[in-house]
C-alpha cells in the first residue's frame, strides 16, 4: 500500500533524526575526547552534516508533502497532528534563512568568537566590538526573515527558535513581577544570612572520589548508566539522544559541590530526554519542548529538589562515605545553609539561585535594545555596568567581568538568555504542583528515593514531548497558567524562613 503524505514525512524526518544524533555525538566527542589538533577536521564534518541536514529539510519534496499532509490534517489524530505542526515549524525555520545568510553568520560568529577570546585576554572590549556589530547586523536580518516566515515580531521569532510559544510580552510580564520583588528579597536574604553565616566546608577531594559520589547520586536519581555516560569537560553539558545520553560535569578538587551539582543539573536534562515519548523518539513531536523547559528540568533537580534540607539529609552520609569528611562544617544544617548562600556577584555563571535571574533580566533588556538599534554596541560596556549596579548594587571594574563574560552574543545567540530565567520560573511552578501531588516528597528525597518525582514528571512533562505548546503544557501539568507567582512564593519560603 502506498504511504500517505504524512507517512512519507515521517520517513523523511526519521532520516533527519539520525543526522541530529550523529551531529550530537560529533559535538560530544569534540568537547570530551577529541585530540586538540583535530578541531579543523571536526569542523568540516559538522559543517558538511549540518548542510546536508538543512538540504534534506528544505527540499521541494518536503514542501509538497507538507502541503498535501496539511490538506488532509483533519483525518490525523492528536499526536500525528502535533507532529505535523512541528515538522512545519522546523521547515519554516530552515527555509526562512537563506544559505547565504547562514554562511555569512557562520563566518561572522566564528570570527567574533576568536575576537571575544582576544578581547577577554586583553581586557579590551574595543577588540570585540566591530565583530559583535557585524553579528548583530546579521542577526537582525535573520530575525526579520524568521519573523516573516512565522508571522511573529523579529525578537519573538528569535525566542521562538529556542523556546517555541513564548513571546517577549510573556517574558515582560514575568520579568516585571520579578523586578518588583527580587531586590527586596535579595536584601533581606543577605541580611538574614549575615546574622549567622555558614562556615565553608574545605578540603582536597580527588576527582576519582568525587566521581564515585556523583555516580551514586545519579543512580539514585535514576540515570541509566547502561544507556548514558558521565564524563568531564570544561563546562557541564548534555548531548546525545534518548537511548544514549552523554552528560558531563567539571570537578573542582577544593569544592565537591561544583562537580556534584553540575552532574545533578545535567541529570535533570538527561532524565527529560530519556523520558520523551519512546514511540515518537525519531519524530519532531518526540523532542523536548525547547530550552526553557529543558532548563526547568535541570533547575528543578539542582535547585528545587537538591538544594534542599531533605536532599542534604540524604547527601551527608554519602559525603562521609566517599570523601571521608567530618566536622562542624559538614553538619546537615551548615551544609544546607552553605548551599543556599546568597551573594551579590558579577558573574552570571557563579551566581546563586536568588540573584541569578537579575543577571538574565539585564541581558534581556540590553539585547533587545541592541537589536532594536536603541543601544549602539560601542555603548554596551557602560550600559551593562550601570544596569548591574542599579539592579544588584555591584559594578564590574573590568569588562571581562562585565559584558565580555558570556559567549552567547558572539556566537549569535540572541533570544536565548531569557530561557534560563524562564526555566527557573517553570521549575518552581512544577515543583509546587509536584509537592501538592506528593505530600511526602521530602521524606522520599531524604531517603534518596526519586521514583515518585520521576513518575510525576514522566506523566506531566517528559512524556508530552512537543505535543503541546509550552504554555499549554504548563497549564495541563500544574493546573495554572504560567506565571512568576509560584517562583516568588518558593524563593520567599526558602530564603526568608529562618
Amino acid at each position: 500500500m502506498a504511504l500517505s503524505p504524512y507517512q512519507q514525512l515521517e520517513q523523511e524526518f526519521r532520516r533527519l533524526h539520525a543526522f541530529r544524533g550523529a551531529l550530537s555525538l560529533l559535538r560530544w566527542d569534540a568537547a570530551v575526547m577529541m585530540p586538540r589538533g583535530s578541531a579543523d577536521v571536526r569542523g568540516e564534518q559538522l559543517a558538511a552534516l549540518e548542510t546536508e541536514h538543512h538540504a534534506l529539510l528544505t527540499t521541494p519534496k518536503v514542501a509538497r508533502l507538507l502541503e498535501r499532509a496539511e490538506a488532509g490534517a483533519s483525518q490525523l489524530d492528536d499526536w500525528p497532528l502535533a507532529n505535523l505542526r512541528e515538522m512545519r515549524r522546523q521547515r519554516d525555520h530552515a527555509i526562512a534563512t537563506p544559505p547565504s545568510l547562514i554562511a555569512r553568520l557562520a563566518k561572522a560568529t566564528s570570527r567574533a568568537e576568536v575576537f571575544w577570546v582576544e578581547a577577554r585576554k586583553a581586557g579590551n572590549f574595543k577588540l570585540f566590538a566591530p565583530h559583535l556589530e557585524e553579528v548583530v547586523h546579521l542577526v537582525r536580518d535573520k530575525a526579520a526573515l524568521l519573523g516573516q516566515a512565522r508571522a511573529l515580531a523579529p525578537y519573538d521569532a528569535l525566542v521562538d527558535v529556542f523556546t517555541p510559544g513564548i513571546s517577549a510580552a510573556d517574558i515582560d510580564t514575568i520579568f516585571t513581577a520579578l523586578s518588583r520583588k527580587l531586590p527586596g528579597l535579595i536584601n533581606s536574604a543577605i541580611e538574614q544570612q549575615a546574622q549567622s553565616p555558614p562556615s565553608t566546608p574545605v578540603g582536597k577531594f580527588t576527582v576519582a572520589r568525587q566521581r564515585q559520589l556523583s555516580v551514586e547520586v545519579m543512580k539514585a536519581l535514576g540515570f541509566p548508566f547502561d544507556r548514558g555516560r558521565l564524563d568531564e569537560s570544561e563546562h557541564p553539558f548534555t548531548e546525545g539522544v534518548p537511548g544514549d545520553i552523554r552528560i558531563t560535569t567539571r570537578f573542582d578538587q577544593s569544592d565537591p559541590f561544583t562537580g556534584l551539582l553540575g552532574a545533578v543539573h545535567e541529570t535533570g536534562h538527561a532524565m527529560y530526554d530519556l523520558g520523551l515519548p519512546q514511540q515518537w523518539r525519531d519524530q519532531p513531536v518526540g523532542r523536548d519542548r525547547g530550552l526553557a523547559l529543558e532548563e526547568s528540568q535541570s533547575l528543578l533537580f539542582e535547585m528545587n529538589l537538591c538544594r534542599s534540607r531533605a536532599f542534604v539529609k540524604y547527601l551527608r552520609p554519602l559525603l562521609e562515605k566517599h570523601l571521608q569528611v567530618s566536622g562542624a562544617e559538614w553538619t546537615e544544617d551548615n551544609l544546607y545553609r552553605h548551599l543556599i548562600r546568597v551573594r551579590r556577584s558579577l558573574i552570571r555563571m557563579d551566581a546563586d539561585e536568588l540573584t541569578y535571574p537579575v543577571h538574565i533580566m539585564l541581558r534581556y533588556e540590553l539585547e533587545k535594545k541592541i537589536l532594536e538599534g536603541e543601544l549602539p554596541v560601542a555603548d554596551l560596556p557602560e550600559a551593562w555596568n550601570a544596569n548591574l549596579e542599579q539592579r544588584l548594587g555591584v559594578r564590574p571594574t573590568s569588562d571581562v567581568d562585565g559584558c565580555l563574560q558570556d559567549i552567547h552574543w558572539a556566537v549569535g545567540h540572541f533570544g536565548y538568555f531569557p530561557s534560563y530565567a524562564l526555566g527557573a520560573v517553570i521549575a518552581a511552578q512544577l515543583n509546587e504542583a509536584l509537592r501538592a501531588a506528593q505530600p511526602s516528597l521530602d521524606e522520599e528525597i531524604g531517603a534518596g528515593q526519586f521514583g515518585g518525582v520521576m513518575d510525576w514528571l514522566r506523566d506531566n512533562v517528559h512524556g508530552i514531548g512537543a505535543r503541546l505548546p509550552v504554555k499549554e503544557l504548563i497549564k495541563e501539568a500544574t493546573g495554572k497558567p504560567l506565571s512568576a507567582a509560584a517562583y516568588l512564593r518558593y524563593l520567599e519560603a526558602k530564603y526568608l524562613s529562618a
Copy 2:
C-alpha cells in the same frame, strides 16, 4: 565562473568524505565509549548515514557528471585523472548491488552473526550452517553483479572491493610459491628453536604502566597524540580520518607484548592514514590503497621493524623503566627469541609470523570452493580440519577452534582473507627496498629513531594515496614487480639464522 563537471564531482565527493568521517567516529565510539544499552540507537544512526551516503553516491547527477568528466578526461592532470578513476570505481561498486540485495545481505549477515555466536557457545557448527548458506547465496549474487559492473570474474570482483587491482591469479602465483617453501621453513624453524628454547617472561603488569610504555613507543614511531588517540577495545583496530586517528589495543596483564605490539600494529595503519596526500584528503584518490596495502603497513611495523633484534635493543630499557622488570628472561637475546617463537597453532589470531600465512591460504582455498559450489557448506568442518592437518600438521578437535573461529564469513566478508597474507608479502618487499635505501636502519631503530623509515614510507607509499593501482605502486616503490621472493628471503633469514 561555472565549475567543470570534474570540479562538481570533487564537491560531491567532499560531502561523502565528511559522511565517512562521521560514520567512522560512530563506529569508534560504539566499540570504545558507548554504553552497552545504546547499540540499537547507534545501529539506526549508522544505517541512516550509510543509506544517505549510498544515495548521494548513486544519484543520476553523479552519473551524468562522471560521464561528462570522463569525456573531457584528456585535459586532466595525473592526480585528478586518478581521482576520476577512483570516483568511477566507487560509484560502480555502489550502483552494482541494488538496495534490495544490500538489505537482504544486511539481514542475513546480522542473523548469521547471531547464530555464529550461538554455534560457538554450543560448539555446534550445525546451528550456524543454514545461516552461512544463506549468506553464501547472497554473496554469490553480489559477486556476479559486481563482476559484471567491473568486468571481472566474480571472485576477483570481491577481492577488488578490498584490494583493488589484485586478482585471484595474482594470489595463486604468490600462494603457490609460499606453499612450496613454507612447510619446510616451519619445520626447520621449530626444530632449531627447540634446541635452545627461550624462557617466557612472566609477571603482572598494570594496564596503566603498559599504556605508558605503548605511548612512549608510539611517540617514537611518530604517532601524533595531538591528532590521534590510543584507547582500549576487545580487538585492536584503527578508525577515524587523517587528522583525527583513533587506534585501540588490548592489554593483557600477564603479557606486556600483546598490548604493545597491538598498538604498534595499529600505529602502522595510523601512520599510513596520516601520511596520505594532505591536498587530496577529502577525495577518493587521497584514500589508502586498499586492505592489503593497509595491512602491509601495520605488519611492516609490527613484524619487520619491531620483532627484530634492533627494536628489542631499543625496547629493553623501556621495559625496565615502565614495568620494572629484570632477570634472565628479560635479556635482549631471550626477548627477541621469545618474540619470534614459532608454534603450530589452531587459531589464526594467535598464530606467529611464520605460520600465519598457512591459516590464510587454507581460508582462501576453502572460500573459493564454497562460492563456486564445489564445497557444500555442510562439509566445511571436515574440509577445514583436513586442510589444516595437511598444511600444518595439527587438527582441531572442536569447530570452535576450527571453522567457527573467524567472524568474517558470517558477516559476508569473502575475498577479504587474502589481503592479510598479501599484506605480509608486500611488507617484506617494502622492507627489503627500505633497507637497501637506508643501510643504517637497524642502528636507528636500536636508538628509537624512526624518522628515516617514515620519510621513505611517505615518499614511496603513504603520499601516493590511491593514485596508482597496487601493483604499480609496489613496482615504483621497490623497483620490482610484486612477488613472494622478498618475503621468502626475509623469512629464511629471520627464522633459519641462529
